[in-house]
Structures are given as structure tokens and as C-alpha cells.
């Protein structure tokens, strides 16, 4: 693979310089010059060039590639904590079902109501072709039905007392062995702290392509490969990424990016129990304790509604106002960096570039000016409500509903109004 400028065609117009997301092109003596250290061969300059002066050769590299035709089906790693499958797994199962239909590999209809017809009307393929959940832990029987109701055609279940809690090494070993044995075409995982730690190790071990934090997943209709779209540079650009020559095609997805399918209690699925050599369950790191933060309002990732506060709150005691509103709405409490740096609220509440990225249904920004570092962490929220006394605050540029006013009056009024509306 290589990229070059056809000097005769280049007019030095700088279109490619402007198009390059990586600042890799400069004009030297009225001709474009590409800095190959910075270039990622993304092709943005080729697409921008009106003179066809960018030559991008994406010939397949001479690498030893795995036999990708053997890989079938879509897997979702169903992360569990305390024996409970995390909500992101259900969201991914819903998406996986949609992708499976596009891939046309989902040929194991789980019930025959004519909703989806099978090509040629026969079940030629092994059951591993559908959507599968991978569940690792201990005593997880009570989680199986819900996974099946929400889109799992199969569940690969690995249980042992020493697997009760996540640890990097045993979970990696098990997932690697399962992938080698059953060869899934696609492997999806929640972009949680655990998911990102685990899946990175798995991808290195089996030499697979892994794309982090995808906000869009689709199937290329011709090539039948996974198109993975994700933000980069703090959401300033989007990139679509493929792993055409390696399997499984692996991606992580944050909470709330996709919606789960409605649970269907008539769905049927198959549970495949696996166990491995106990040596694989050994962990060099030892998990000594798990400390749950007492506040119920802290899990920002899974929250449907987040009430966040910033510098405008004026002091730690005023977070109480937000907690009251959050309590009525069943919301989590977030904050801007300014409030965390001032010591008003713990770091685990911070939303933004150096904190958490969230995408709830509703995000209340109270007394938050809307610096870009904060916006990149919350601008994918479905509805943004901004409350700020400065009408020029940048937060209003992204807010679905803006309220210019004093949060010390507005927030209690909202709490009261929702209390009445929700009859609490």
C-alpha cells in the first residue's frame, strides 16, 4: 500500500491540505508533499482532489492472512457484574440481530411466524451462524432467559467459582479459546472499563482488528463486511473503519448507543456449556476487594437521565439542588471538570474529555458554560437541557432546550414541576 502525489497533475490548490485530518500534507514549491510519518492512508485527500493527483494504492498487503471464510455468526460478550448481565450487552444483542439479517447469516429462525423467511426455506447452516452471547462467571442460570428473549440465539456459557468476578487473564484466555474453537465472524463488546481491558487483550492474542467506541455499525452490502464508524479527535471527525482480512471483526460500543430489542418471551435459544483446563482460569493479578460507591447516583454510563452541574453551582453544598431533581427523575448526577477540580464532587461524576463520555436520553447542564472538553463528553445525548444565566454560554449552541436564568430558581422549579407531573 502506498500513497503519492502525481506531480504533473498537482496544481498546489491546497484542497488536500485542508482535507487531511492528520495535518500530513504541506505545499512545497506549489506541489503537495505528504508526510508519511503522519499519513494514515485514509484517502481524504484523494477524495478532495479535483485533479486526480493523489495516487492511493491499496493493494492487499503480502501478509499471511487467516482463512476468513470459516468464520460465521455474530457474538456479543455479555459482561456481568455480581451475576447480573450489564445493560450494554442487551443493546448489542439487539444490534447484532439487525446486523445478522443484513449479513444473511442468521438462518436459524427461532420461531416461525413468517416474520423473517429463510432463504430456500431450509436450515442448512449450523446453529453457530446466528447471534450468540458469551457469558463468563459463576451461577448465571437466572440470566440465560433474558439474554435469549433479547436476541441471543445461542449462549456460550463458561462457569466456575474462580470466574465469578472479572479478571483480565482468565477471561481473556477463555474468550480466546472460544473464538478459536467456534470462529465467529463478528465479536462485539461493551466499551466499559472491563470490556475495553478484556477485548484489547483478546484482539492482540488472536490478531484481529478492533475498533473502539463505535457509534455506528453496518454491513457493507456487497462485501458483507462490518463497517465500523467512530468519532476521533474528540468527536470533531468521524472515521469508518473495516478489518476486511482478519476475523473476527471486533468492535466496542458504549452504553446507550444502540437500543435493545423488546424482550420476546417466545424466543428460543440454545445454551452451550463449555469448560476449560483450570490452568486457563489462573490469574496473576489478585482481586482483593470490590468497593461499591454508596451513592446510587454515580453510574453515569447506564443512566437514562443525567443532571450535571458546573462552576455556576458556586459550591459543593449546592449539588443538593441537582440531587433533588435527579431523585425525582431517577437520574444520575454528573459534573463538569471545573466542579471536580474545585473539589466539590468526586472525579467519578466527571463528564467530558478527561472524565466519562455519556449519551443519555436527557442531559441537564446546570451552570455549565459548555467548554469543548465538556461538550465532547455529552453531545451525543438525545435531548440536552441547558440552564445558564449567560445567554452567550456555548452550551446553548448544542442545547435542545435552553433556559436563560438563575439555576437556583430554575432547578427547584423543575424539581417541583416534575414531581407534580410524575406524581411523586
Amino acid at each position: 500500500m502506498s500513497i503519492s502525489i502525481i506531480i504533473e497533475k498537482c496544481t498546489g490548490c491546497t484542497l488536500c491540505v485542508k482535507a487531511c485530518p492528520f495535518d500530513a500534507i504541506k505545499i512545497v514549491n506549489k506541489k503537495a508533499v505528504i508526510d508519511l510519518h503522519k499519513c494514515t492512508l485514509c484517502g481524504a485527500c484523494r477524495d478532495a482532489c479535483k485533479f486526480k493527483a493523489v495516487l492511493l494504492e491499496k493493494t492487499p498487503a503480502k501478509c499471511d492472512l487467516p482463512n476468513i471464510k470459516d468464520y460465521k455468526g455474530i457474538w456479543v460478550f455479555a459482561e456481568q457484574k455480581n451475576g447480573r448481565v450489564q445493560s450494554v450487552a442487551y443493546e448489542l444483542l439487539g444490534k447484532a440481530q439487525e446486523l445478522a439479517k443484513k449479513l444473511n447469516t442468521n438462518v436459524s429462525p427461532v420461531r416461525d411466524n413468517g416474520a423473517h423467511k429463510v432463504a430456500d426455506g431450509c436450515l442448512r447452516q449450523p446453529i453457530s451462524n446466528g447471534v450468540s452471547a458469551v457469558l463468563i462467571g459463576n451461577k448465571l442460570e437466572d440470566q440465560l432467559d433474558e439474554l435469549i428473549f433479547c436476541g441471543a440465539d445461542n449462549i456460550y456459557l463458561v462457569e466456575a467459582p474462580e470466574l465469578a468476578n472479572f479478571q483480565d487473564e482468565p477471561y481473556t484466555n477463555i474468550l480466546v479459546e472460544l473464538v478459536k474453537k467456534y470462529k465467529p465472524e463478528i465479536l462485539l463488546c461493551g466499551a466499559t472499563n472491563i470490556g475495553r481491558s478484556l477485548i484489547s487483550r483478546v484482539a492482540i492474542n488472536i490478531k484481529a482488528g478492533l475498533t473502539a467506541d463505535c457509534t455506528g455499525l453496518d454491513i457493507d452490502p456487497d462485501k458483507k463486511i462490518l463497517m465500523q464508524t467512530r468519532p476521533a479527535f474528540g468527536g470533531n471527525i468521524m472515521a469508518t473503519i473495516i478489518s476486511p482480512n482478519y476475523r473476527p471483526q471486533m468492535a466496542t460500543v458504549r452504553h446507550k448507543v444502540f437500543a435493545p430489542m423488546a424482550a420476546d418471551k417466545k424466543r428460543k435459544g440454545k445454551v452451550i456449556k463449555e469448560s476449560f483446563d483450570p490452568k486457563l482460569y489462573f490469574s496473576r493479578t489478585k482481586l482483593l476487594d470490590i468497593i461499591e460507591e454508596i451513592e446510587s447516583t454515580v453510574n453515569l454510563s447506564e443512566a437514562d437521565i443525567i443532571v450535571s452541574g458546573g462552576r455556576g453551582l458556586g459550591g459543593p453544598e449546592n449539588f443538593k439542588l441537582l440531587e433533588d431533581l435527579a431523585h425525582v427523575l431517577g437520574a444520575a448526577v454528573g459534573s463538569s471538570r471545573a466542579a471536580v477540580d474545585a473539589g466539590w464532587i468526586p472525579y467519578s461524576h466527571q463528564v467530558g474529555q478527561t472524565g466519562r463520555t455519556v449519551g443519555p436520553k436527557i442531559y441537564f447542564a446546570c451552570g455549565i458554560s459548555g467548554q469543548i472538553q465538556h461538550l465532547v463528553g455529552m453531545q451525543s445525548s438525545k435531548i440536552i437541557v441547558a440552564i445558564n444565566k449567560d445567554p452567550e454560554a456555548p452550551i446553548f449552541k448544542v442545547a435542545t432546550y435552553g433556559i436563560v436564568g438563575d439555576l437556583f430558581q430554575v432547578v427547584p422549579a423543575l424539581t417541583q414541576a416534575f414531581k407534580i407531573a410524575l406524581r411523586k
Partner: protein, 260 residues
């Protein structure tokens, strides 16, 4: 304690804006900085060195100008800088990058600890740290927010999760990725700045590292970027007007279907 810190030079992301007329990235005057999360990694390494003695080595993979990132780390108290730089490494994704960095670390000899930032602010993948530990086959503890105890043989750490934290003990050598909460990076001293200016940065190329050519650069990268585009920017909506109680009622009407 022999500590290696892996850092990345990134554009100061927040200054990357979209030109609304041409819909392209405006980069004039965008500075290159050390990835903010790596600053915590450097600081933690220097603190551990101050407690236990030893050496802090910073490693980065990037273009020749990443030299300045290594010097900045030295100004904060790191001892040596290595720049992994070769055109053969260009186009590396996280797989090939972690393979290459792991290869460079093997060349540097024995170590007790590797520290990385939890992720880079330009790519946000959080994949290279775990990738390095996997290539080196050492234990990892990600999202570390506190070092509770450390000896030259093991460490007890607090690892951040979504709804709390875990206490994990790991033998050394190991790899940690750290979050912002772990410390507050120092401002370099004048002495540090002087030392950084004259410090020798060692360049490591493919010739020195002798890595498998099939595993580096584009050839070694399973992922390919096929399209880059600018997202439709979010635009402001409706500003609610009136008395506070009235505004509250309006908002309830507008969003109550989403609240249940």
C-alpha cells in the same frame, strides 16, 4: 525500580475546529502536546522513582517531532527518552503500534513496571496499553486511580470501575494504565527544563528493533480507515421564555415522554 512510561504526542484536540464554510478541519496554530492522560503516567512514575530509587524511561512512537514530547517528560523528572521512529511503522493501528512498542521495550532490557495513560485524547481507543502487556505477556491493571502499596515485587492498586473501584494486587513486572484521579502532574523545575534541553534522545528504528516486517506498519494492521468525514454539528434548539414556573411547565410538557 525500573519504570517505563509510554507516551504519545497528540494535537491539542480541543483546538481542532470545523470551518463551517468549507466543512474542513481548521488546524492553524494547533499545538502538539503530550496526551493529557500520559502526564499522569509520567508523574506517577517519577513519584515511584522518588520513593524507591531507580530510573524512569519514556518511550514514544511517532514522527521525529515527537522528540519534544520526550524532552517534556524528562523535564518532569524522567531520565531517558527513546523515540521509536521509522517510515516502516507508518500507518500502524493499535495492533501494530502495541507490537512495535512491546518490541522496543524488549530492546531496553529488564524493567519492573510499565505505566501508560488510560487512553490517548486523539484516538480514545484505550487499546495500546493492554496491547503492550499482552505482547509482553505480563499482567495488567487498567484504570488505576491509586497506588495503595508498592514494593519492588508487587503493588496493591485501586482500579476504577463504573460504579466504584476494585482493589487489585499484581506481581511485578506489570503494566498499569492510569486515570486523572491518581495524581496532579508537576510543573517542571528550571533544573528539569535545562536537563531536558541537553538530554540525549535515542532513536530506535526498524534496523535496531528487527521486528517481523509482517507485523508492523500497514501490513501488520488488521484495521483500515476507509472513510473520514465531519459529523453534522449539533445545533442549538429552542430557548424557553417566560416566568420560571412557566418555563418549568413548558419543559415538563416537552420532555415528559422521555421520563418514565
Amino acid at each position: 525500580m525500573n519504570i517505563i512510561v509510554c507516551i504519545k504526542q497528540v494535537p491539542e484536540t480541543t483546538e481542532v475546529r470545523i470551518n463551517p464554510e468549507t466543512n474542513t478541519l481548521m488546524r492553524e496554530g494547533v499545538k502538539s502536546i503530550i496526551n493529557p492522560f500520559d502526564m499522569y503516567a509520567i508523574e506517577e512514575a517519577v513519584r515511584l522513582k522518588e520513593r524507591f530509587g531507580g530510573k524512569v524511561t519514556v518511550v514514544t512512537m511517532g514522527p521525529p517531532q515527537a522528540d519534544s514530547a520526550l524532552r517534556e517528560a524528562i523535564s518532569m523528572g524522567a531520565d531517558e527518552g527513546y523515540l521509536v521512529c521509522d517510515r516502516a511503522f507508518a500507518g500502524s493501528d493499535t495492533w501494530a503500534t502495541s507490537y512495535t512498542l512491546a518490541g522496543a521495550i524488549k530492546k531496553l532490557g529488564t524493567f519492573d513496571l510499565i505505566i501508560c495513560g488510560k487512553q490517548a485524547s486523539d484516538g480514545d481507543t484505550a487499546q495500546v496499553g493492554p496491547g503492550i502487556s499482552t505482547h509482553l505477556n505480563i499482567p495488567q491493571v487498567t484504570y488505576v486511580k491509586k497506588v495503595e502499596e508498592a514494593t519492588d515485587k508487587s503493588m496493591r492498586l485501586e482500579r476504577m470501575l463504573e460504579e466504584g473501584y476494585e482493589i487489585i494486587e499484581t506481581p511485578l513486572p506489570a503494566l498499569l494504565t492510569v486515570v486523572k484521579e491518581i495524581n496532579e502532574p508537576r510543573i517542571p523545575s528550571l533544573k528539569g527544563l535545562m536537563r531536558a534541553k541537553s538530554a540525549k534522545i535515542t532513536m530506535l528504528t526498524q534496523k535496531e528493533l528487527e521486528l517481523d516486517p509482517q507485523q508492523i506498519g500497514l501490513c501488520g494492521s488488521p484495521t483500515q480507515v476507509v472513510k473520514i468525514f465531519t459529523p453534522t454539528p449539533r445545533v442549538g434548539g429552542q430557548v424557553l421564555k417566560g416566568e420560571v414556573a412557566d418555563i418549568a411547565k413548558q419543559l415538563v410538557e416537552l420532555i415528559k415522554d422521555e421520563v418514565n
